[in-house]
């Protein structure tokens, strides 16, 4: 590949069609998840809002708008060559860090469920900088770890250290919100990126050890808030806190279990319509699928996620550019573990943390971030061919 031919690929001129280079199966799977998500958000909110004299389509409308904006962002992410993105990475990262700093300032950050994770905007909108920070960490780390300053094939210790600093600053800010779910997902993405970057294995093993010891120490020393300890306890023993976290986890499990093989039918679930599970359009949206669509519907959703992830692995493997490969890996780890944490929490396999289900949960910031992530995957895929 000559320098000249590379240069041609960079400009706008290379665009043949706005969908050129899209992986069709990945696209269809994500589109189906978005459709199912829309129906579930509507199912989760319509009855309760109607019964309380509010607009039953309030969430539906906003969700559709979020998807529209997210699709534009995904498309935008796709059309700009990801290698060009590299140049903007430091700016993206800086914006993320600024946002994360801002949420901690009283008066700017809104506290929801004990976490200062939101910045209120006029018109009732809120943004969650942590969601966008995930992208800047993935892109930033990939950039550092794929640059070869030495004549070696794999990153050196200094590269890994640099990459860790890039990740550590936003992670520390998120820790102080605190938002343990996001920290968990970012942490896994960081370790995965380092592992796949070809960096010495000592780093991977060491980081995992640090994470395990760190979480134990956090619980002991009391860095973690009271309510987070309770959530953890509720996971270990759901009857310990029957009105708080334990209640939510129990309700979630009952709601999913009551769906049975085929579910109660879309919009028909008494558990969902009675709103016995809190946060059921956001973090607990999978309970709606569980009750109304049953094992068959939920299994289908899991297969869609599996499709998205396995296609993404294919893209990562095909990529001959270390940067693209690492970006893909980061996005995969993010999607996979966020999905696992969210559904696992709903099914009682994971402790309760407030992370949304990618492509499905209601929530703008999360939707935008996941759609950008999706755009990155398509972007790498497109450049693989080009």
């Amino acid at each position: 590949m000559s320098l000249a031919s590379q240069r041609i690929n960079y400009g706008r001129g290379s665009r043949r069609s706005i969908f050129a280079g899209f992986d069709p199966i990945l696209t269809i799977a994500v589109a189906l998840l978005l459709v199912i998500g829309t129906l579930l958000v509507y199912a989760a909110t319509r009855n309760w809002y109607a019964a309380n004299g509010l607009d039953p389509e309030y969430y539906l409308k906003r969700h559709v708008i979020n998807i529209a904006i997210g699709s534009l962002l995904a498309w935008g992410t796709t059309v700009v060559d990801y290698r060009l993105l590299r140049a903007y990475t430091p700016i993206l990262w800086a914006i993320g860090v600024l946002g994360l700093t801002a949420v901690l300032i009283p008066g700017i950050g809104d506290e929801v469920n004990g976490s200062k994770a939101w910045i209120g905007l006029p018109g009732g909108f809120q943004v969650q900088p942590a969601e966008l920070a995930k992208i800047s960490i993935i892109v930033g780390m990939s950039m550092i770890l794929s640059e070869r300053t030495h004549d070696t094939d794999s990153p050196q210790h200094t590269d890994v250290l640099q990459a860790l600093v890039v990740a550590a600053i936003p992670v520390l800010l998120i820790l102080s919100q605190p938002d343990m779910g996001t920290v968990f997902i970012i942490g896994i993405a960081v370790v995965t990126i380092i592992a796949v970057s070809g960096a010495p294995m000592r780093w991977v093993v060491g980081l995992i050890l640090v994470a395990v010891i760190g979480s134990f120490a956090a619980v002991k020393v009391g860095v973690i808030n009271d309510y987070q300890v309770k959530r953890l306890q509720a996971f270990v023993d759901p009857s310990a806190d029957s009105q708080g976290s334990g209640y939510q986890l129990r309700q979630a499990r009952i709601t999913v279990g009551s769906g049975g093989l085929i579910g109660t039918g879309l919009f028909n679930g008494p558990q969902t319509n009675g709103r016995f599970v809190p946060e059921q359009q956001t973090d607990f949206i999978f309970t709606v699928a569980g009750e109304q669509l049953g094992f068959l519907g939920c299994g289908f959703i899991l297969i869609l996620y599996l499709t998205v992830l396995m296609r993404a692995f294919g893209i990562a493997r095909k990529s001959n550019d270390p940067y693209g490969k690492l970006v893909c890996t980061g996005v995969i780890a993010w999607f996979a573990f966020q999905t696992f944490e969210n559904i696992g929490m709903t099914l009682g396999m994971m402790p309760m943390t407030g992370v949304p289900l990618p492509f499905v949960s209601y929530g703008g910031s999360s939707m935008f971030a996941t759609m950008i992530g999706f755009g990155l995957l398509q972007n790498v895929n497109a450049r693989n061919r080009g």
Binding site: N47, V196, V256, P270, N273, G274, F276, F313, A336
Partner: protein, 696 residues
Amino acid sequence: MNQRARLSLLVVQIFIFSLLVGLLGRLFYLQVAAGPKYRDAALSIQSRDVVTPATRGLIVDSSGVPLALNRVGIAVTVDRTKIDRQPDKGVAVLRSLATLLNLQYADIYQRTRLCGELPKGSRAGCWTGSRFQPIPITKEADPEIALRIVERSDQYPGVSATPVSIRNYPASAGVNGAHLLGYVGPLTDADLSGANGRSYFRSESIGKAGLEIQYDEYLRGMPGIKTVIVDRKEAVTSTSQNSKPIGGNHLVTSIDARVQASAESALADAVRRARASGYRSDGGAAVVMDIKNGQILALASYPTYDPNAFERGLTVAEAENLYSEAAGVPALSRALQGLFAPASTFKSVSVVAAANAGYDLNATYDCPSQVEVGTRTFQNFDSKAQGRISLKKALAISCDTIWYRIAFDEWLRDGGLKPKSNANDYFYTAAKGFQIGKKTGIDMPSESSGRLADRQWRKSWYEQNKDFYCNYKERAPKSQQTAFLLQLAYENCLDGDKIRAGDAVNFSIGQGDTVITPIKLAQMYAAIGNGGTIWKPTVAKAIVKTDGTVLKTFSPEKLGTIPANKETMKFLHSALREVVVSGTGAGVFSGFPLAISGKTGTAQVFGKNPNGSQKSDTSWFASYGPTEKPRFAVVMMVSQGGFGASTSGIGVRKIYETLLGVQGSKVVSAKIIFPSGIPPVGLPKISPATKVKEAK
């Protein structure tokens, strides 16, 4: 890209793949394998049953007069889940409610406490139901006061007033019937857990005692259930099921309200009379039975309580009084649960024993003032020598010494302290034949079985007590270390497992460790009166549906026959008549225009009253009549009531007066309760409006 990175990617891919497969597996477990369990759990979260209690069936007497019916009352209820949320835990609300209802705050406080919340020993009047159902303070509130509560609901948070159906015992003909009928109350957690195999709804009532509990399953009916689906705010979103309440069935009893009322007043009167004579007279019972089939016409116990007090709302004092020793434990049904030595009424059994042992019933026997049995002397009741008299006369005047001799002889014949393996045991066999020590099987709850102190009982008693008596000095309190008691303990330790001569002679005159209930004695004398058949006493005659069709009838049940031949029965009949003609019962029945047969009993009681005084004798009178064509058995017992004749005998006479229409020394035919001589055979029409037929 190096090889290791490629491998890492593959490892990550496999790991993520297996995580998602893990989710699928968990999902399969929750939704398919454990799905039904979670569906049930979800249903209990979403659905609420609105229960409309069924109208409870009536309890009527044999001619249809209602003994228990339903009335509409106004219940003032307190919702604990709401008042507990007040800053002062509802103290102010309950205080102002107490003022409004003119009740004591302490009573209201107690009534709204779950029994488990209160320390043991001060739970009287507590709420036996659950925290989650409105707790009634009273079910008979003044409508005006109820209206005030409803209008100013902001002043009385958690308090509401609603019309309810309440159980009412109308006292037809003046009947109290507390021990017979029982009462209803809230379900306990044990009831709700399905301990008795039935399922209930929280807001229902359940029979708590007497016939109300015995026939609860028939009387209760089926509550109407409306199952609604609710949301998290408990707002109803839909109705999934709706059934109308089905009224409970009526219970027709063999009780006659007039006889019951008469038995109650005669009993109370007997107690009063005994007290006037200086006896402590702490309780009593009266039973009237149809000897031809075991049906109960009246069943009374003293002291009693007001069965309507439970629906009105018990005060702490009332609730404590129910089980208070000082008040004589009014909750105790002495007719079924009171255990007393039968004393001379037992001699009818001894007659059967003597006859079976070959003694000539028509011979004469010596009745000295005392008899030496081994080293001990046993006195005649009044320590008088009567000379040689017939056995019939002996029974009439209640000579004890004749029986001591016979019992002692038989005891020696059976081996004395070294009993033969094939001992005849005529006395124990006869008592077993009368089914002493077994429950009568009456269709009422909590009957006591009594005790037959035979050889077997003696052995098991010894096994349980030898440790105590053989270490009496160490085990017994200082106050019980008198010379007599020490000697007794020594003897008990030595050969307490054996029937001693003293035990044998005491047994023959109904003293000692053998105890029976008044209902048992009525069953025994009914059997003597009818020629030997032991019937199972019954109160219920039939269960009748609200539309008048008969659901179930209860037929008389024969439990056995007295082990006496015709000759013995004939002798017993004439001897028991002689008691009333010339014997211990003659005085109380003098001038009575109809022939009655019976036997007095005056049982010595050992032990002391709470105030330290020696316990007085138990007064018994067991009878059947009219002698020529016997139909009824009447038994009365007054504990610590003194002599059998003067206390219980007069009571029994009064009951016969009502039953047989006797006024003074004449029979007034218009006053006879059953003009045909027998209680109604068929079933009455049932209506809450049925009035008592006043025999005039």
